[in-house]
Symmetry: C2
Subunit: 412 residues, 2 copies
């Protein structure tokens, strides 16, 4: 978090107290990769026998750490640690960039007594500049010596990975698996899908549950669809998006392979959705959190495309910024999505106030509650496209002068 940057008006009151997760220890340090006077390097260590699952950016220009993580996840190595730096994305750096990821992971492996392939890595910050290896490698021993498991270690780790974020983002939940209570902690960074010279979103989740990798991967991918894949600040996709879930198994005496994981799915979804919405709350220039709920789609995927079309429409986002009940722009964005819509049954409500029905404006609806809602900082747009039963929910933020000021800055 850059010094002197004003915290988002949508920020939560405080960073939550994250409880220890058996088997997880963390540390952060100022390595001086880019920032001064703040931590910018984070190490998380998981005990032996842990499993890991991940979802990574689909960008065709993904960064070197993303390519490294993809390889190690596919090889299904047992995870040992996670190393994250802020300020340099190590993206579009060619073969040297890949070599630098390996060198930093080798340093962690040497300090912890594991193979480099068991170390996952993530970097965000400026694109196209080589990652400075020396300060990172030099800081690893200090990180390895200062590992801790308490709440302050979690808070410090969450702060160390921030770039242009205006607040640290964390969440926690508990779940019951086969009668046993497990914990899910998570923290994330991201000031929108995009940032000036930066790219972009990271989310790390840790649980003491014992879950085999195939199940862990499917649970993560499923929860990701309704959390991080359901947010948008401006429709741009980063080259570094990384979401990793580590399961240490330290809470479980018996493997949970056969156990019912529904409550764990619920808890993980709650943590990931909480973090995803916090990322939107830190969207560049955001003054309003917008929730778009679509029903009546041909299927859930069609509903998601329509919801994304509304959430990504500059026309809709600027109208909300102006507290303008401009539902005609929502009609446009729905029609623009390229999905089946029944215009004669299209229903739109803003803040719970129906504004259209049967393909027409509802004449003389009460504008007072609508305008009160639009004056607030949490906006709800509900759309029923009247085709079938597909549903989706997307979170975004308004598009303001602040966004332009941040991104059109000559000095960026």
């Amino acid at each position: 978090m850059s010094a002197g940057v004003k915290k988002s008006p949508l920020a939560p009151d405080a960073f939550p107290a994250l409880p220890p997760v058996a088997g997880v220890r963390l540390a952060a340090v100022e390595a001086g990769v880019k920032y001064r006077g703040r931590d910018d390097l984070m190490l998380a260590v998981v005990g032996e026998g842990a499993t890991v699952a991940g979802v990574l950016t689909r960008s065709a220009t993904a960064g070197a750490p993303v390519l490294w993580c993809r390889r190690q996840l596919q090889a299904e190595h047992r995870p040992c640690a996670l190393l994250v730096n802020a300020g340099n994305a190590n993206t579009f750096t060619g073969e040297p960039g890949a070599r630098h990821v390996r060198q930093t992971c080798e340093a962690v492996g040497a300090a912890l007594g594991c193979r480099p392939e068991q170390v996952l890595a993530a970097s965000t910050g400026v694109i196209g500049e080589l990652l400075p290896v020396a300060p990172i490698v030099g800081a690893v021993p200090q990180l390895a010596e200062s590992l801790a498991a308490d709440s302050s270690a979690w808070a410090r780790a969450a702060a160390a990975i921030l770039t242009t974020d205006t607040f640290a983002k964390g969440a926690t939940a508990q779940a019951a698996i086969a009668g046993q209570t497990v914990t899910v902690n998570g923290f994330a960074k991201g000031s929108g899908m995009i940032e000036p010279n930066m790219a972009t979103m990271l989310a790390f989740l840790f649980t003491d549950a014992a879950i085999a990798r195939p199940a862990l991967q499917s649970i993560l991918a499923d929860a990701n669809e309704r959390s991080f894949n359901a947010i948008s600040v401006d429709g741009d996709t980063s080259t570094s998006d990384t979401c990793l879930l580590f399961a240490t198994g330290r809470a479980a005496d018996a493997p949970a392979a056969s156990a019912d994981l529904d409550d764990f799915r619920r808890a993980l979804q709650a943590v990931m959705t909480d973090l995803a919405v916090q990322v939107v709350r830190d969207g560049e220039g955001a003054t309003k959190l917008i929730t778009v709920e679509v029903c009546g789609g041909e299927d859930d995927r069609a509903a998601m495309r329509i919801a994304k079309s509304v959430a990504n429409s500059p026309l809709v986002k600027t109208a909300i910024a102006g507290a303008d009940a401009n539902w005609g722009r929502i009609v446009m964005a729905v029609g623009h999505a390229g999905q089946r819509v029944d215009p004669a049954r299209l229903k739109i409500a803003i803040g719970g106030v129906p504004v259209t029905d049967h393909g027409r404006r509802i004449d003389d609806f009460d504008e007072a509650p609508l305008n009160r809602h639009l004056g607030g900082d949490e906006i709800l747009i509900e759309v029923d496209v009247g085709v079938a039963s597909g549903r989706a929910r997307v979170w975004t933020c308004d598009l303001t002068r602040g966004y332009i000021d941040i991104n059109a800055d000559y000095r960026s």
Copy 2:
């Protein structure tokens, strides 16, 4: 064009002098549909034996005039006239909206002695309000009596269809068909894909060439791909986009069915591209015209998707607004397009200055010419994704505070 609105800094010096097109007469009048003190209703009449082709918005919430045009084009009626009003889009108006289109076309048919199905219609302006029929029907006789074919009639017609445009948009070209010279005139409106409460782009083209409908349709659709379908102001799609091409056949003694139309294709492409770029030059808040040229794509369609991804990226558009050589954002947008890219061969040039090659930044390139280029008001971004030989060119404009001011206006 609203009174007192400042003309776009990218506007051409003047509206071009459009020569007569044999068989075409036009008239405009102040019908008082929405605006006061300006023409807001335009009638164009084509002689007997004319043919017409059209491309219409793919929006699932298309306006009533679009649905009317689609039906008449499919029925392949001989065109008689075109009626266009500004200020009301007659969109999302249900069955009454469709009835109102028919009533206005019946009035034109009665005045000209043709069937209503031979009258095409277009409306842009506010969405969701019923089109006031009486002032339009009442103005039709006056329009029918004041039809003219000279340059001033063309200029007045082009001005009558404007909404929030800051200047009228026209273009003309000549072509040789079988040794005979034909003329192509066109005019368009649109202040971007979107406007405050408005929607949006119309383009009307007229030629005295004799071209049968199937050929005319394929020529128009082809030219449209590289003109109006290759521009974007903000990625939003209007509910009213309509592009019609009328061919009167009055220049030709013999039908041109067998004639070589390549020169006509060239002339039509020139007129449509000219008009399309003028629409971008009138983009809301635009201060810079941006041309994105992509080569090396898997095919032309893949190249177009990549070019659109760059052209629609708020990150890229705000960087250009800030005259910031932020090529990392172009890398992001290229990767975001979901098309095949070879990162190791990705080349990016801005203003002809190569900034990346072989998947890496070009170290110590000369920034002086680059910054001179970015300081100007016409920006060129060239991208080679290094896969195959697919090419595309897209025109867009920068994203500025002016865009936010226009679209987030409380009073819109």
